[in-house]
């Protein structure tokens, strides 16, 4: 905590003398999250300050965290001969694997829908391209967002931006354990009267480290060696069981 507070103060101190328009400066508590053997999820803190602030009324802050893009397949089950079977499906391309949004107010109170569409703000404004076996992809998209939200991968948090003073703010982004590895982007938007006045984007990375990293790479780069090692390990365990059993006879 102390680390990001210090960074925050440095950013505030570095604020340029006020002549230009209102602007935003933000930072992160860390630029890397390492998945190790005891990783169970973590938090990243986004903090920022408004430079050359104008009147606080009519001003909104939106913080978005986007994970790496991925394909998302949604399937719908139907009852066929008494059994529930996957029938219709929709595949969305380039949806973020993680999407967090915190805002000072509910999004539709901050900006009109076309602005939200343009900046892809809010899970329903992502509008990914869809290949679908069904004429309407909307229920599939809604289902995907609902289920990803249940896993903590999609979050919409209106009012989750804490102001420590009139111009200093922060928000806490919970990163769940089952998160995708890759580059994440944090975007901080300054809205004034329904339009974007300033944006700042900062990346951070999530990756496996240590033994987990090595095992994952081993499994994908030398799958034959990895398979043989697994087999060898299980033979060893079986042999050990046999020795133990005979000894205790």
């Amino acid at each position: 905590m102390r680390r990001w507070l210090l960074a925050w103060m440095m950013i505030a101190a570095a604020a340029a003398p006020a002549f230009a328009a209102e602007d935003i400066v933000s930072g992160l508590s860390q630029d890397q999250i390492a998945i190790n053997s005891s990783y169970t999820g973590s938090d990243i803190v986004v903090f920022g300050t408004i430079e050359r602030p104008a009147a606080p009324s009519g001003r909104d802050i939106v913080v978005v965290v986007r994970g790496p893009d991925t394909d998302v397949t949604v399937r719908r089950r139907d009852r066929v001969a008494g059994i529930w079977i996957n029938r219709d499906a929709a595949k969305f391309s380039a949806m973020p694997a993680f999407y967090f949004l915190a805002s000072t107010r509910p999004l539709n109170a901050i900006a009109p829908a076309d602005v939200l569409d343009r900046y892809r703000l809010g899970a329903m404004h992502l509008k990914p391209a869809a290949i679908t076996s069904h004429h309407d992809s909307l229920p599939f998209r809604q289902a995907a967002i609902r289920q990803l939200a249940a896993q903590g991968l999609y979050t919409d948090a209106p009012g989750a931006i804490d102001f420590h003073s009139e111009n200093l703010f922060k928000t806490v982004v919970p990163i769940p354990a089952s998160v995708a590895r890759g580059q994440y982007n944090v975007e901080v938007y300054l809205f004034r009267d329904g339009d974007v006045e300033s944006v700042q984007s900062t990346p951070f990375f999530i990756d496996q480290i240590g033994l987990e990293r090595r095992l994952f790479n081993f499994a994908h780069n030398q799958p034959l060696g990895y398979g043989l090692l697994t087999v060898f390990m299980s033979l060893l365990f079986g042999w050990a069981t046999s020795v133990l059993m005979r000894r205790s006879g």
Partner: protein, 304 residues
């Protein structure tokens, strides 16, 4: 302490995984089965992706079969030639099964196929076992001996490519063992089971192997197929999680010992009845999952 599984890409509590290995290991020791048919569904119920559950369970099956096989080998009760022929068929079956597995996954029908094969196979095997063990118990009470109905084997005797299996005292076409091995290979790749509950009856009723070599030979054959399947799942589906396998086996080693000791105190017929009830319970639970209204009719999968 939570541990992170690098292939399943999720974190689990180690106590749960070791406990699961212990429980299934206990049953393996008690009944002399590999336990794959219980372990795979339990891992899936816990939330492990079904591809990883199927790919990883076979390591546990290998470990729990090795100690039994070693014991039988010391008693010279293994027909290695027969096991080798069956593993040969198993290799082709496994290749086919792993391909089927990948194709089903692309179609989004993997869970359905896995559940359906479990319900059909465990339901029929469990039902037969229950019927037989109830009849045996009743007969034991009444003092009546039930005659074993011989399977008509004339057509098997007529098959070509005959080979002498000295240990089993059989002169038999290699086709039936290859076909049985093939079937077990498919099962182990698609369902993550060793297939003992299919191999043992097949050896007794179809191949007519002497009962003293059946157990050892089936264990050796299961180990062979489980090893081949593990390597194929690792190379073609990247579905083997070595960390998960490690913690499962730690529990399995201890559980198997406890199971063998508990098994010595129970009678064979009672054990078979218990096993039949358990197999049927798993089948019913999976059948319920197929017919019950799902909590959410949609399912979401990330990645391509």
């Amino acid at each position: 302490m939570e541990i992170y599984l690098p292939i399943a890409e999720m974190s689990v509590h180690w106590v749960f995984i070791v406990g699961l290995g212990l429980g299934v290991g206990f049953l393996s020791g008690l009944f002399g089965v590999g336990g794959g048919f219980l372990l795979t569904p339990l891992l899936v119920f816990y939330g492990i992706p079904s591809t990883v559950a199927v790919g990883t369970t076979l390591s546990h099956v290998t470990a729990s079969s090795v100690s039994g096989a070693l014991a039988q080998w010391r008693k010279r009760a293994v027909d290695f030639k027969m096991a080798g022929v069956m593993v040969g068929g198993g290799l082709i079956g496994t290749l086919f099964g792993v391909w089927l597995f990948a194709a089903m996954r692309r179609q989004g029908q993997m869970d359905l196929i896995v559940s359906l094969s479990y319900v059909v196979l465990l339901g029929s095997v469990g039902g037969l076992m229950l019927k037989e063990s109830l009849a045996t118990l009743r007969a034991a009470r009444g003092g009546v001996v039930i005659p074993v109905r011989p399977v008509n084997r004339a057509w098997i005797a007529a098959l070509p490519f005959k080979m002498r299996f000295r240990q089993s005292r059989l002169y038999l076409s290699v086709l039936p063992p290859i076909v049985i091995g093939f079937a077990v290979g498919v099962l182990s790749a698609v369902m993550g089971v060793g297939g003992g509950f299919v191999v043992v009856p097949a050896m007794i009723y179809i191949l007519r192997m002497p009962t003293n070599v059946v157990l050892g030979t089936s264990l050796v054959q299961i180990i062979g197929i489980a090893m081949v399947t593990t390597i194929l799942q690792a190379t073609s589906n990247y579905a083997v999680d070595i960390v998960l396998a490690f913690f499962l086996m730690i529990g399995g080693v201890v559980g198997a010992q406890l199971g063998v000791r508990a098994g010595a105190k129970l009678r064979g017929e009672q054990l078979r009845l218990l096993l039949a009830v358990m197999v049927l319970a798993v089948a019913l639970r999976l059948a319920w999952g197929l017919v019950a209204h799902p909590r959410d009719i949609y399912s979401t999968m990330l990645g391509s």
